[in-house]
């Protein structure tokens, strides 16, 4: 199923470059993002540098407004950094054109959002098929979607529309969609923010489980400290600066 072997490299708390020969899934170098508001220049992110080798389960913690979403936007190429670089699987995406980025996003990054963002007119299965049709998926999109929905525990809800699903179920569909093209990296922005605590926990268990099975690297932004319990590595952001980069409670877990 997956070509990716789970990463077994030692985790680096200092965020330094990985060992020779091993390409980090994500590398951020001196990233800055500022916005011009009227005559003022508002710095949202400043000089952020870290590197994530394959297989990590990273939480990006920080209070609301600290710049988590902005950072994820820059990582996934949804937003253009003002300074610095972002490398996905060793490829610099920070200055790419939109049409090139689209291909990278399709193959390399899956995304999960707080608001699920499913297409209301399509069924669960069709929603998962969407990215498969954007790129060149070799197999049958429909059976791939069915397989992934099975993996997130929704085999019985294949033909249901988003409004017929609970919030937790919708988020599972969104996760299946993020994983559809087998991206090495999945980024999630407050994936449990719209969910009750119990459902949120289920979602995190699912994400952890998927990381174990598929070796996918996860970066999860949250201000919910309970989530931090799952991390193999924890990034701490405050006022647009990276203020902490530590191994998580599950560091070293396989």
């Amino acid at each position: 199923m997956s070509d990716f072997a789970p990463a077994s490299s030692p985790l680096r708390a200092d965020g330094s470059a990985p060992a020779v020969g091993e390409v980090p899934v994500l590398e951020v170098r001196h990233l800055g993002r500022s916005l011009r508001l009227g005559s003022e220049e508002l710095a949202i992110l400043q000089d952020i540098t870290f590197s994530i080798p394959p297989g990590e389960f990273v939480t990006l913690m920080g209070p609301s407004g600290s710049g988590k979403s902005t950072l994820l936007g820059c990582i996934t190429g949804l937003d253009n950094p003002s300074q610095g670089q972002v490398l996905l699987n060793g490829v610099d995406v920070s200055r790419m054109r939109e049409s090139q980025l689209a291909g990278i996003r399709n193959r390399t990054v899956g995304m999960v959002f707080q608001a699920f963002n499913l297409i209301p007119t399509l069924t669960a299965r069709e929603n998962v098929e969407v990215p498969l049709y954007a790129g060149r998926w070799r197999g049958s999109p429909s059976s791939r979607a069915t397989e992934l929905l099975g993996l997130v525990g929704l085999s019985h809800r294949l033909e249901h529309r988003p409004n017929q699903l609970s919030g937790g179920e919708q988020q599972r569909v969104a996760i299946a969609r993020a994983l559809a093209t087998e991206p090495p990296l999945v980024v999630a922005d407050e994936p449990t923010g719209n969910l009750a605590a119990a459902q949120g926990k289920e979602i995190l268990e699912l994400l952890w489980d998927l990381r174990q099975r598929m070796g996918t690297t996860f970066v999860i932004a949250t201000h919910d400290s309970t989530i931090a319990g799952y991390a193999t590595r924890m990034l701490q952001i405050s006022d647009g600066r990276l203020v902490g980069d530590h191994p998580g409670p599950r560091a070293g877990a396989r």
């Binding site: 902005t70 994820l72 996934t76 949804l78 996003r105 399709n106 963002n117 007119t121 559809a180 093209t181």
Partner: protein, 912 residues
């Protein structure tokens, strides 16, 4: 496979769009309906004309007298042709002038065409409308039975089976003929204005001494080569008649029908353009609602071109649905247009579905949708994927604006290509597209500036000196405007608008807040809001102009005609009965009488050159114009001081000495090339109806332009009854045998009609026409024009409603969050709705008032230059139109806004 998901996504998006999808398909459908309906009607006309062209020509060759009837002696020419075998058969139609009396007593001038039922028509048959009591031949063979051309029928309003009184020139008394049937299409060439009877019926009504002459002769030949040879010979021999072969008739029909096709296509194109604007609007709303969805698709790797494909597919499906629906309705419409044209053009037009046009219509629907959908699709495909993270407003940078202009250009070029294909003329299409584009751009600019002003109107908490001063100033300026007569209605509107300035201060505080918000909101997205104003502007402008011109022109024409200063009844009769008529007119209270004489004459030479030689080099239309301008002579009692009421353009007016030198005036139209007549030239005229008449050479002493009874008001009612104006003596010398007296009588306006009726019964042999009778014809023309313009105007109003509905929907969509916040801080549903409606009312009122101003501006020069009638906008009409437009807009907005304003704040504010 990919297509499968795309199709499913598209169909479901369309289904979810619900009413909005229906609206978009409706926009396309209206355009396609118009195109298919109008083009198919035009093609029916075309094929009917060409199919029946021999029948419409009356035979292989038709000879139609233009101004001078053919004397009986000319029939010998045709008899010789027949005995020499060059023509197989011919039939001649006798022509007789008459006045037909309507049930109400008014008279309608008509030509009685007497035919020989044994030979007429030479080819085919005359189709009759349902209800006739037999075939044309059967009916016409019955004594005292006539068949009416559809033109006469519509003027007369007579029903099949009714008896109609006909006053014939030189009749023994009034005759009563029964309407046997009404021609369904056209009678053969030259008989369009006729009522048709048999020779026997006519002979029974007129004195045996009456002159016999012919208006038309139709003939058949064995081959078309013979036909053109015979036609050439007849053209030489009868220089003043119109000789047409089937081929020539076909060519002129084709020209007429291609003009018709073009006109109808332009109307269809206008509908298509309006539909297109609706599509832009609707697609924009439907895609804007999916902003997040689009951003989501982008985050999973969809490129812009994937999205173009996806939404392009949606446009194609929309176009297909609208196109098929529109084409289906268009087929029905084409039958209605066909019936309308059949009535107007006097041609039998058969219904036939042209599947090519229907298919092309569906294609045009798809093409139009795609072209116009391009704007919203390209715009919305630019949504940055980051929108999924943060619902940030789309950043409008110079770059985006610049490429929008490029995009508009692309749309314009594509629409131009489509228009070129539809009209078959790239040049015409270019003029239309550029003209429309420039007009719309200017209007949008004007209205967006006006909206900026409205957005800054003050809504003060209490009366302040500055505010009171400002409002009072506005009121005073408005009052000043009302003093200009033609701007009175505009001024009245302005006064009302200014008074609102006082009203707003005394409103309760919550209402004031609503008004303030509404005014500020109207300034947001100014260009889109301006589109609403423009739509209403166009609608109100069109409807208002039509109503005002329609009623004003009609009533003014009526009053000019009835109060015409020189005469309002005209009577033509032989000399001895004219004297009696004059007596009778005086007895009926006429206030002025002018007696002249008129006679049929025809030219034989100009400046000594034989007429056939002069005419030989002329085009068909120049030839008939020359015939008109040189056939017929009117004699004035110059010695007793009666001069023609004309303007001399060259040379001099008539004087008594002209009686001995045969000095005459001719129309200034003859001075133009290729006629080039001037004072000092000569025209030789002959009496065509006298057996051995001698030609008389006339000296042109002046060229006149026909001033007219209503000239001060710019309406031309010619006071001359024949083109050559001479002394009474000269007229008698030229055509003594058929000289008639012409009495121009003036009665008090209210009594003119009654007087005409009484004169008719006093002398049935006289042709008496009241000028008021012309109003019948004018009314008919105006009715048709008004009907057509109203149809176009309602399209504009329809577009206005669609645009209002869409922009309200779009605005509410964009302000969803804002509305949620307003409600969260305690504003009620009513207040939110009130804001939307107040804003719509302001924007609509602006557009409608603009429309009224534009009408006033259009009427101003029209009044001075063209019509010279006192055209003004009646203030009640102006108010009704503006208030009506505002109401329509507010109701539309209320229907659209009803759902969205009830949105629960939690729903909107839940995220972020």
């Amino acid at each position: 496979m990919k297509a499968g998901l795309y199709l499913r996504y598209t169909t479901r998006s369309l289904t979810r769009g619900g009413r909005r999808t229906v609206l978009a398909a409706f926009c396309v459908g209206v355009g396609v309906m118009a195109i298919v309906g109008l083009q198919m009607a035009a093609s029916m006309v075309n094929s009917s004309l060409t199919a029946n062209v021999r029948q419409a020509n009356g035979g292989d060759v038709s000879v139609v007298s233009v101004a001078v009837p053919l004397p009986q002696s000319e029939l010998r020419t045709f008899q010789q042709l027949q005995s020499s075998g060059r023509i197989t058969r011919f039939t001649a139609v006798r022509e007789y002038s008459s006045t037909v009396i309507r049930p109400g007593g008014q008279g309608v001038s008509a030509t009685v065409d007497a035919v020989d039922p044994a030979t007429f028509p030479l080819v085919g048959t005359v189709a009759l409308r349902p209800g006739a009591a037999g075939t044309f031949r059967q009916l016409i063979s019955r004594p005292g039975t006539m068949v009416l051309s559809s033109t006469i029928e519509s003027l007369l309003g007579a029903k099949v089976g009714s008896e109609v009184r006909v006053n014939l020139a030189q009749a023994r008394g009034p005759v009563y003929w029964r309407v046997g049937g009404i021609a369904r299409g056209s009678l053969p060439a030259g008989m369009d204005q006729a009522l048709v009877v048999s020779n026997a019926t006519l002979n029974g009504a007129v004195s045996s001494s009456a002159l016999v002459d012919y208006g038309e002769v139709y003939l058949t030949t064995t081959t078309s080569k013979d036909a053109s040879r015979v036609a050439r010979q007849l053209t030489d021999q009868l220089p003043l008649a119109t000789v047409s072969t089937v081929q020539q008739a076909l060519n002129s029909d084709k020209q007429a029908s291609s003009q018709l096709t073009q006109f109808l296509s332009i109307a269809g194109l206008a509908a298509l353009l309006i539909g297109g604007i609706g599509i832009v609007n609707t697609m924009q709303v439907s895609l804007a609602r999916r902003r997040l969805e689009i951003a989501m698709l982008k985050t999973t790797g969809y490129r812009r071109r994937d999205l173009y494909l996806l939404f392009g597919l949606e446009a194609v499906m929309l176009g297909l649905v609208g196109g098929v629906g529109g084409a289906a309705v268009g087929i029905g419409l084409s039958d209605a247009v066909r019936a309308l044209l059949e009535g107007v053009a006097n041609v039998v037009i058969n219904f036939a579905i042209s599947w090519e046009i229907v298919l092309a219509g569906v294609g045009i629907g798809v093409a139009t949708t795609c072209i116009f959908a391009l704007l919203p699709i390209v715009r919305l495909s630019r949504v940055r994927p980051a929108a999924v993270l943060r619902d940030a407003p789309a950043e409008v940078t110079v770059g985006v604006l610049g490429s929008s202009a490029v995009l508009l250009g692309v749309v314009a070029v594509l629409f131009w290509l489509l228009a070129s294909a539809i009209l078959g003329s790239a040049g015409l299409a270019l003029i239309l597209v550029i003209g429309t584009g420039v007009a719309l751009a200017i209007l949008t600019l004007i209205f967006s500036q006006a909206l900026r002003l409205i957005g800054h109107l003050p809504v003060p908490e209490r009366f302040t000196p500055a505010h009171v001063l400002l409002v009072t100033l506005a009121v005073l300026v408005s009052v000043a405007i009302t003093t200009v007569a033609s701007l009175r209605a505009v001024g009245a509107l302005l006064i009302l608008a200014s008074l609102l300035g006082y009203l707003v201060v005394v409103l309760p505080r919550p209402a004031k807040a609503v008004v303030r918000m509404a005014l500020r909101n109207s300034e947001r997205t100014r260009t889109r809001t301006a589109a609403t104003s423009v739509a209403l502007f166009v609608g109100v402008f069109a409807v208002g102009l039509i109503l005002i011109l329609g009623t004003d022109i009609r009533s003014d024409l009526d009053s000019i005609i009835t109060q015409s200063t020189t005469y309002n009844v005209i009577a033509v009769a032989p000399g001895q009965s004219a004297t009696r008529l004059l007596q009778a007119a005086r007895g009926l209270g006429s206030t002025s009488e002018l007696s002249t004489s008129a006679a049929i004459s025809s030219p034989v030479a100009i400046n000594g050159r034989p007429i056939s030689e002069v005419v030989g080099a002329l085009s068909h239309s120049d030839r008939s114009e020359l015939a008109f301008l040189t056939s017929g002579i009117q004699g004035f009692g110059v010695t007793s001081g009666t001069l023609p009421d004309v303007t001399i353009k060259q040379g001099r007016q008539l004087r008594p000495s002209d009686a001995s030198t045969n000095g005459v005036l001719v129309s200034t139209a003859l001075s133009r090339s290729p006629f080039d007549l001037k004072a000092g030239d000569t025209i030789t005229e002959i009496d065509p109806l006298a057996p051995h008449a001698a030609p008389v050479t006339l000296q042109v002493v002046g060229l006149y332009s026909a001033t007219s009874a209503g000239s001060r008001k710019g309406i031309s009612i010619t006071t001359t009854v024949a083109p050559i104006l001479a002394t009474q003596q000269t007229a008698a010398t030229v055509a003594g045998s058929n000289l008639q007296q012409v009495l121009e009588l003036k009665f008090p306006p209210k009594r003119a009609d009654a007087a005409a009726t009484q004169l008719r019964s006093a002398d049935p042999g006289a042709q008496v026409v009241s000028l008021a009778d012309f109003t019948l014809i004018i009314d008919q023309f105006l009715n048709n024009a008004i009907l057509f313009l109203t149809a176009i105007a309602s399209l504009a109003l329809l577009a206005g409603i669609v645009i209002i509905a869409n922009s309200v929907a779009l605005a509410l969509l964009e302000r969803r969050r804002e509305i949620g916040i307003l409600k969260a801080v305690g504003q009620g549903r009513g207040a939110v709705l009130g804001e939307v409606l107040t804003e719509t009312a302001a924007v609509a009122g602006l557009g409608a008032a603009g429309g009224m101003v534009a009408i006033a501006l259009v009427l101003l020069p029209l009044q001075r230059l063209v019509i010279k009638i006192n055209l003004g906008i009646p203030t009640p009409l102006a108010l009704a139109l503006v208030v009506g437009a505002i109401l329509v807009a507010v109701v539309t907005a209320a229907l659209v806004a009803w759902g969205p304003v009830r949105v629960r704040p939690l729903e909107v504010l839940r995220y972020e």
